[in-house]
Symmetry: D2
Subunit: 370 residues, 4 copies
Amino acid sequence: MSKIPVGVLGATGTVGQRFVQLLAEHPWFEVAAVTGSDRTIGRPYGEGVNWMMPGDVPQRTAELIVQPTSLELDLPGDPPVVFSALPTAEAKEWEPRFAAAGYAVVTNTSVFRMDPTVPLLIPEINPDHTALIPAQRAEKGWPGFIVASPNCSTTSAILPLKIFQEAFGVEAVILTTMQAISGAGYPGVSSLDIHDNVVPYIGGEDEKLQNEPTKLLGAVRDGRLLAADIAISAQANRVPVVDGHLASVSVRLGRRASAEEAIAALRAWRPPAVVAQLPSSPRELLIYRPEPDRPQPRRDRDAGDGLAWTVGKVRQCPVLDVRYMALTHNTLRGAASGALLNAELLLVQGYIGGNRERSPNGHHQTAAGR
Amino acid sequence: MSKIPVGVLGATGTVGQRFVQLLAEHPWFEVAAVTGSDRTIGRPYGEGVNWMMPGDVPQRTAELIVQPTSLELDLPGDPPVVFSALPTAEAKEWEPRFAAAGYAVVTNTSVFRMDPTVPLLIPEINPDHTALIPAQRAEKGWPGFIVASPNCSTTSAILPLKIFQEAFGVEAVILTTMQAISGAGYPGVSSLDIHDNVVPYIGGEDEKLQNEPTKLLGAVRDGRLLAADIAISAQANRVPVVDGHLASVSVRLGRRASAEEAIAALRAWRPPAVVAQLPSSPRELLIYRPEPDRPQPRRDRDAGDGLAWTVGKVRQCPVLDVRYMALTHNTLRGAASGALLNAELLLVQGYIGGNRERSPNGHHQTAAGR
Amino acid sequence: MSKIPVGVLGATGTVGQRFVQLLAEHPWFEVAAVTGSDRTIGRPYGEGVNWMMPGDVPQRTAELIVQPTSLELDLPGDPPVVFSALPTAEAKEWEPRFAAAGYAVVTNTSVFRMDPTVPLLIPEINPDHTALIPAQRAEKGWPGFIVASPNCSTTSAILPLKIFQEAFGVEAVILTTMQAISGAGYPGVSSLDIHDNVVPYIGGEDEKLQNEPTKLLGAVRDGRLLAADIAISAQANRVPVVDGHLASVSVRLGRRASAEEAIAALRAWRPPAVVAQLPSSPRELLIYRPEPDRPQPRRDRDAGDGLAWTVGKVRQCPVLDVRYMALTHNTLRGAASGALLNAELLLVQGYIGGNRERSPNGHHQTAAGR
Amino acid sequence: MSKIPVGVLGATGTVGQRFVQLLAEHPWFEVAAVTGSDRTIGRPYGEGVNWMMPGDVPQRTAELIVQPTSLELDLPGDPPVVFSALPTAEAKEWEPRFAAAGYAVVTNTSVFRMDPTVPLLIPEINPDHTALIPAQRAEKGWPGFIVASPNCSTTSAILPLKIFQEAFGVEAVILTTMQAISGAGYPGVSSLDIHDNVVPYIGGEDEKLQNEPTKLLGAVRDGRLLAADIAISAQANRVPVVDGHLASVSVRLGRRASAEEAIAALRAWRPPAVVAQLPSSPRELLIYRPEPDRPQPRRDRDAGDGLAWTVGKVRQCPVLDVRYMALTHNTLRGAASGALLNAELLLVQGYIGGNRERSPNGHHQTAAGR
């Protein structure tokens, strides 16, 4: 079975590089086109990019000529697929144009996250939200569509909330994050700002933390999103850590539960069945650590190849109901890997990869299209 | 005017060194005796100490011979005064023995903080709590007494709570701290634990954060402490910062108030009148910073010579009522300087420094000397 | 005695801010004009600047309107004086134009450092190099002149070299520096480049380290500079430290000397007599630390208000003759404070501050002009 | 084919843990016995150890009971093999006792490194030095023997020296290292010592850096070591980096060579033929990076699974002949992995693993098992 050729929009930035790195080894997708900044257009990707990932630029992508972001990428596919790591202003312009031109746009940008017809997606949390896609197409008049992944800080806190929501209901959340410098891209945070320091501000992040979970934890009924009715109060902080976002969270539950019940719920939880078909989803998705001093960014961020949630310090909250600490790798689970998982879900659900046959080793396949 | 000679118990540790450094320049007190660990006993302080403070060991203290901690210090004074920076086990043994022998023990240790007859004291917050001293003497049968200063992390969050309590009442508090490595003393935190990392655990700290404020914000009536009825939920974290404890705090008020009212209360607050007589209390005690990215440990910890609170990000909390960030220097305001301020208060209030008269400008004078 | 009004060119950058901060308290100079980037022109300095220094913007400077860099500053003085912290390209254009217009240009930039007629100056090292000024004026046809201060990394290593040169002669130097992030200005070094890392590259720095000392340690004879005949090999590294440049240096001496003799030379050295008249030069200029683990950036950078050299680990070099470690504060001694000292020297020597009288407290004064 | 059972002495420390982690996946060896500190003796390794490595304790080792270090380990093998990560004092006592009892002691400790009969070994550099083993046995009267691996800082600089020695001769070396905190073990360096700081001192390290290379680069003739005649001058520094030792090196060659020739020599060099048979030796042993800003600890330490040397900045030295920067991972190449490679070499050369046959593809096989 041949791989699906995809485009990476904004492939020379740090998230774009991560897409290129992850796609180099991906069983289903391969990079067929890259777009980049003016400085890099027309040069081989391997020469134009200021490669920040471990190891070397993947050989095949290195030889691709960087193109301007435009509809002339002329990718094959039914629909053709692009991953977007564009800067915000360009995402705002180009993502709808690609969708209007029939592309499936799998984006890591924030522009359309809160659009009620755009699925804000973590396959292990709300895979059914792709049911918004037909409504999106109808409302926007697009043959293609956009699916978004949440902000990296939202991601770090969300899985335990999902589990508590299912088990007990969730009414209110107060959280304080400690976020890594890589979340700001490159050059991103000046070393003079963050060395020996904490900065209690990340532009727009408190709002994202307060809004995105209500959508992620919401329900889709009849093609419409019903946001979860949860009050959220957030304070995002930048700390001098390279990778790994840590969240300190207090939750008021729908019905009272002890710390032991909360821990039992975490341990008992199993992801939706479709997750078993996603090659990038880790074997152990939620790692509960009973030690009093975990999770820690440096020691836990790489768990599950950077795709697991590590959760600890689950205990009673003397003001609300339960407290916990949760950690994810912000540039893997929280960004490029998360978006890649979204594409895997779209393929399994038949939204992309039309006219493909099932692979013999079973991972999946579309029968005919949708 | 001669200065009051004082002893420093545990003078070779980091907090002890800070006492020595601060007392070298103090207008009212001077170091007359130092006690230390076995390794250093019998040697001049300047040789025995592994000096970690900026600059050199103060000349006069450097020449003092380190003594074992014992009642044979034989300090003059009415009562004689010792500052305690002893390790916990030794504090437990020696602080009561000194009080029983008639000493005023001004301690930075945690052992007796929650004893209902021991004032847990920040002069700018609850100077009237020294009214517990007679009850303490009566109950313990001590001619001397102990006064304690709170944990450095409690300190960072407390001043805005006090102000909100006075203005609106405070019912519940959820806080997450980001604490500096110097809070653990020396050698303290291993660099392998904290470099490029956050550790969501400091032994006993969550409990201190949940208990101490109820005492600090309590009332003393008829020589008895009435703890404040406030539910507190705390998560203490260690971050890779040298100095400066930062607290992220959400508060449920007694009566609803807007962010603007909360800010106005902070700006309008004035410390108790007695504070004007304390030479170490900074001119500007509470610095409200309107920028969205303050306070920051490295940029704000030295405000007011490390004795000011810097507060910012005061805003509505979507779950409780208001949120804020507050910062203090943990080894100055949060430790040695705080205890020194307690001694200044005791002198102004007449609990120590018998036979001395007040100077007209509010600073002190001995009548005759001793 | 009134202070001399001066201009600060490029006053909104980090070095320019340091000039503004230091000049606010200076006994001889005061800021009368500031120039800045397009973004800030026309606004009060206190509003336009992104202030990075400790404390607040000095009140008087805060009210000055930021001007474009031009000859219309119209400063008084004989000659008028400007401190330059301009970006390189602007320094190249404007410093000669100010000199041609009669200004004394005291610059911290690198553009004219190696011009043979421009004194490269550290008052405590080569105060006699101002004798190049008349030649500079003659050769360039300028009524004014330029004096430069060396690169901050050159500065860290230079004082022991000077002393060894005087005592034994110096033939060759091999050095490796470990330089602080503040040396790159703001935003300067990306935190993603330097966190948990060392970068063995600072653009142009190896060359400066190899060239500037030969000029600083050279002689001025008959108005001409004779560079010192010293071979220098340098490797500059950036390390994750906020402030303080540390140099590891091996030296081949003109005549063999033991480590003890080298240490004795350091201890015996006294700065040139004129230094006693410079208010910013620290009481103790060279601090020799005998401990095996000093100097250290965080513990020694603030010695002498950031203007002292701390030197240690002087010992025999098994390949050349002696080794040592030396440290200075890169933004104080190595940048703004160093340039300010140059201006103090110029005033004492009569190159600036014409028509001034001696101050009663003696620090100096020009009689009539030069 | 069964694996060779080995013991790990001092298995609960950081180097010991690294041995356990690496051996869990090793094709030839498996851990059959672990010794540890008093605190851990008698408990399952997985419970007693404070595991600092990534991931979990390897299952099989986790179940081993920690034993006291003694000859009663009773390991099989011809000879039986132990890896030593003992503390220095214990290594001094126990390593000779194990050798005297017939064991092959593969040590990472420093105690016997400079013993003229103990091979100081890096298989890719001086595999022929195992020829000292018969002399060692004869001289000490041991049926077993000790082989040592060099200090982690020596390791970082050594490979280019070896190559230059072969190509041009090496007469003198001046080096300055920047070493990671993990080199000091756990708890090791206090965060208060190294945060925002550089410490120009690591106990005994300068001496090791000055001595060990003369042995590593020496020759073995007739069972005797002839040390290389190279003068070395070293300054070791600790920097705030988790892993990766970086060395800045200047070299006087035996015959003059240009930077281009030096680079060509690095590129042309091939390791000794025996290296092809060592499963842990990386495919690309020496990575020459032409960029001006490499090698960097965070970006290059993991090259070749932490076993490659990354070298860059090769250029002319204005004082000696050539300069370069070199980096290795200090706990992998510089410690546990290096010692493991030594054991692989011993097996290939027949010093351990008696009664085993070589596999045709260069990997090993036991003939019968044991």
